[in-house]
């Protein structure tokens, strides 16, 4: 191999290594800044204190209210996206004519390409006023409206990943089911969905992970009040919103307020890292079941 070829390979490898540097950079930044934070605040306070008030005079550093806010909005999102997305997947895969499927799929994909700040507008200005007519006590900022809107955003992700999983079920299973006289509904939900369950679970976990890390929708429409509650009608604050809130203010770099966003960031990173890797594990483990 000539020297020129070696140099080119080396350059390409250096480009590929940028991704490793990115991961290393993320871990280093999160760990180094939050280690300073954890020298001032005991880990037990961070994990078990039920109040998060770093920006007030009476400071508490319990991450729980931000975690419950994050989980509440994500849970609402998945309660919208899973039934709708899975129904779309089953319908397009088993019921709909091919031409309908070909037209509808790209149009649904548009939902996934809309910038999240635009979804934030819908949540705040369209969905919240609409929901307030149903629930008159609902606050202007709440978990329900951004949750629903995040769910709508995630629908294409769930439906497209679930559809791939349903499509991958061997035809023999489908034919056997129709052969013994099952209806399309029975074939879909008693044979195909169970057979494709690992793929569907993966789509749900990735959907939750996406919702947990989503920032703009909740920053615009969920409010900025860290609150340990599962009431979807009152203002809450998610981990991501807190980071935005601090970034918008004049927080002195190096102060403990500044370090809290890295501590919140590490909690967010850990949460999505676990979710993503559980989904990789399920995908790997069950991938070859029918091959």
């Amino acid at each position: 191999m000539s020297i020129k070829e070696k140099i080119i390979e080396g350059l390409l490898l250096m480009c590929a290594a940028v991704s490793i540097l990115t991961t290393a950079g993320i871990l280093w930044v999160l760990i180094s800044e939050s280690s300073v934070f954890f020298r001032k605040v005991p880990l037990s306070d961070f994990l078990f204190d039920t109040q998060w008030t770093p920006l007030f005079a009476d400071k508490h550093y319990g991450i729980l209210p931000l975690v419950t806010g994050t989980l509440l909005t994500s849970f609402i999102a998945i309660m919208v996206a899973l039934p709708v997305g899975l129904s779309i997947a089953v319908y397009l895969n088993e019921y709909a004519p091919k031409s309908f499927r070909r037209t509808v799929k790209p149009v649904l994909e548009i939902l996934a390409s809309i910038p999240t700040v635009v979804y934030g507008f819908f949540a705040l200005m369209v969905i919240t006023p609409f929901l307030q007519q149903i629930f008159p006590t609902m606050a202007g900022f709440n978990a329900l409206s951004p949750g629903i809107v995040m769910g709508i955003m995630i629908i294409p992700m769930i439906s497209s990943l679930s559809e791939d999983a349903l499509y991958a079920v061997p035809t023999s299973l489908r034919e056997a089911s129709y052969g013994i006289g099952a209806t399309r509904y029975q074939t879909s939900f008693k044979v195909l969905v169970p057979a494709a369950s690992s793929g569907i679970i993966v789509s749900v976990i990735l959907g939750i992970s996406r919702a947990v890390g989503e920032t703009m929708i909740v920053a615009i429409a969920a409010g900025q009040q860290p609150r340990l509650t599962f009431n979807p009608l009152v203002p809450v604050e998610t981990i991501t919103t807190y980071i935005v809130q601090v970034s918008l203010g004049d927080v002195v770099q190096g102060s403990i307020e500044y370090q809290t966003i890295f501590a919140a960031g590490i909690a967010l990173f850990a949460l999505t890292f676990i979710l993503n890797n559980v989904s990789f594990y399920i995908k790997k483990k069950f991938q070859e079941k029918y091959e």
């Binding site: 390409l12 480009c15 939902l111 200005m125 890390g213 967010l268």
Partner: protein
């Protein structure tokens, strides 16, 4: 027995309705969203809106500066992320297929693709803004977005390279071409359509991003157009977020008008990508 069959049939037809309903729900929501934005923001889209600086009076404010910022960010992010991403994709697919380093990079990229965008903002705040001293500049913002979309470009490049059949490679090697000559003169041109599609989709993702830019501090009141990559900047999504957080109705209308502009750019980019993908798939039949 026949009642059981009737029940099954009704159940089957009921789900057909549920399925159509859910599909329509998605489509209707999309239509409803677009309608609510266009009906409110369309009248505001005048020449004045495109050419005005920010203002405390909503009817005098415009998107000149964020629109320029978005174009700047688009160009800079492309310049940084395309060479890096395509080169990484080539290395992983053509060169380092079997070694351990390549598989480590691969796992790493899959994980990076799932990292929330706001975390990239924290990375950039510490590394680009503070340690490298780039400040809240266009360059900081573009570097951040470039890292964010790198996994998308790498994956798209690999998919496109994978689609090139072995015979092309073997024919090139048989003529005595080196590995790089094969890659540069045969494989890259053959996979260009797929790579370009992926790149455009990634760029369209980048210009819609808000959160990481807020974290690096790009939420500023700027009254001059950026003239170099080291200048402060604003982009459309940030301007929209800014206007949405004001109480006056006039600013909300401005936000919807800016949303129309942002959506138009996003949809045009996506449309070009889909067009190229279809053309490429039709043209290339190995």
């Amino acid at each position: 027995m026949s009642r059981r069959i009737d029940y099954n049939r009704i159940q089957d037809n009921l789900f057909r309705i549920v399925g159509i309903g859910c599909t329509l729900f998605g489509l209707l929501m999309l239509g409803f969203f677009l309608y609510s934005v266009i009906s409110e923001g369309w009248p505001r889209l005048s020449a004045q809106f495109f050419t005005s600086l920010p203002s405390r009076k909503p009817e005098e404010a415009g998107i000149l500066i964020p629109l320029f910022g978005t174009i700047w960010v688009m160009v800079l992010t492309s310049l940084i992320s395309i060479p890096l991403g395509v080169a990484s994709g080539i290395y992983l697919e053509e060169y380092g297929k079997k070694n351990r380093l390549a598989s480590l990079i691969e796992i790493n990229i899959t994980n990076l693709a799932g990292v929330p965008s706001i975390i990239y903002g924290l990375l950039a705040l510490e590394i680009f803004v503070r340690i490298l001293g780039l400040g809240k500049s266009l360059l900081s913002g573009s570097l951040t977005l470039a890292l964010l979309i790198l996994p998308i470009i790498i994956v798209a490049t690999r998919e496109a390279l994978k689609a090139v059949p072995k015979t092309i490679r073997e024919a090139s090697y048989a003529l005595g071409a080196t590995k790089w000559q094969t890659t540069w003169f045969q494989i890259l041109p053959a996979s260009a359509g797929g790579i370009v599609t992926g790149v455009i989709l990634a760029i369209s993702r980048a210009i819609g991003e808000t959160a990481p830019l807020i974290v690096i501090g790009a939420m500023l009141y700027i009254t001059t157009l950026p003239s170099s990559p080291m200048d402060d900047f604003s982009v459309l999504p940030i301007q929209i977020f800014n206007w949405l957080s004001r109480p006056q109705k006039g600013f909300i209308i401005n936000a919807t008008a800016a949303i129309i502009v942002l959506l138009a750019i996003t949809f045009i980019l996506n449309g070009i990508a889909i067009y190229l993908r279809n053309r490429w798939q039709k043209k290339v039949k190995w």
